[in-house]
Amino acid sequence: MSTTTLPDGAAPEAPVRRLGAWYVAEYRLRAMKAYGWTIVVGGLGSPLLYLLGLGMGLATFIDTPVASGPHGPVDYVVFVAPALLVTAAISVATEEFTYVIMEGFRWRKLFWGVNATPVEPSQLAGGIVIAVLVRMLFTTVAYAVLALAFGALGHPWTVLVLPFVGILGGLAFGLPLMAYSAGLTEDKGQFAIVQRFIFTPMFLFSGTFYPLSTLPGWLHWIGWVSPLWHATQLGRVISYGESEPGWLIAVHVVVLVGLIVGGWLAVRRRFTRRLRA
């Protein structure tokens, strides 16, 4: 450390160096209060609708069991619950890592204000991610608790683990998306395209409502590139002991962690490039 070479009166930047990301997260969480109602209603309402609709409604038409654990077939709602939980986390990511980023860089230029303070670009990005994590945690915990109440979990204790699987999926999809958003200089409807041509097909073809193996082989690649599928399968293994070979479980983890790490590195680079031009 070169503290001795500092001129007189130089204020220490030490607290910001350590806590910069938390200051940003604090700001983002306060900003979320403006749409807190949507977060709460969406966070509780969508699991209620899906679990009721799919578990009580659709399931009554399904005679052949779609999945089974070590002790035989499981209810349809048990099969879909992990997928729905991960989807909920990914939905949070599609909201928070798109328009919020565009708004910060371009529409309201808030990031440029933060940029003039001791907070570094990577801390700004980190703070945004922390705030989204908090929101995702709320959503996935609500989902897991409601799933427990509906008897949609294989083992009750998994209510403690599934939220984190959801977050893995949410970040594995969200961080690369955040990096993409951070590179956009103009809104030409790209986010609507992401929603329609990436999120929706992924939601439908990632083994969400039926096992991936039921799809024709030429559609399987969607599952393999989809963080939703990898996280969902992990969730199923944990929830009711879906029989997945060990190597495949390892692939799920590696793909998810790889997307998260790669996504984060890309986010950091884009934020720094853009704010430090």
Binding site: A10, A34, W112, G113
Partner: protein, 304 residues
Amino acid sequence: MVAARGLTKRFGDFVAVDGIDFEVAPGESFGLLGPNGAGKSTTMRMVGAVSARSGGDLTVLGLDPDDHGPRIRAQLGVVPQEDNLDGELTARGNLVTYGRYFGIPRSVCAQRATELLEFAQLSERADAKVDELSGGMKRRLTIARALVNEPRLLMLDEPTTGLDPQARHILWDRLFRLKEQGTTLVVTTHFMDEAEQLCERLVVVDHGQIMAEGSPAELIRRYSSREVAELRFGTDRNEAAARVLAEVGDRLEILPDRVLVYASDGEAILEQVAARGLRPTTSLVRRSSLEDVFLRLTGRSLIE
């Protein structure tokens, strides 16, 4: 406070700041005067430790921005060319939130916010959403925000561009107040009247280079005459009139809409013009300004 030597910024092949030298002393108010695209904002961003220089030496508050960005920014107040207030928060909310980025406890931020709103004459609008404030109020709030960390150096990039005359004067008045308190200011502007009002010393910049340096009065003395006669003969007759006036005054500038005659005594020039049988449609005599300095140095006016 700031020392730049050969400071350069390139964007690809384009040189936005082309080897400039300047220093800013404590307590001074220093200006960069130049037209759009001169490289003022780029210079401010390098001094503000948010843009790495491509060449030259730069120290800000005794530190190299390449190595000590956060430490430098902790002690700067920055008023950017484009406001980036949070329109959805209140005026007070903006100050408190911003203070947090400097690691200032929320209670201290709140107390400073009250004082700064007073200073910015916004106490009555403290709890109004920023989106509801006028342009001048937003600008004053941005200045208040830049002061929330009690900076040693306040940097203002085009503080009054886009404001109406009344709002400009209110804002200048606030900046005078800061100057009186000994705050060091670095101001960029393309308004010569703003430079004359706010800057004790300035550099005239064009195409990323420094054309001249000095106090406003020095620059006018060095590059212009005491007075200027502005003569309008009508668009297509200015050239012809100027030919007749070639010998009159110290120097002539022919602009599309008027002819400027530089001299120590402007009234005497008007008499000589009349004596040569010319009848300008309008004529006026004024003191030389930094606008004339810029015209002399670059052959162009500041605002095209």
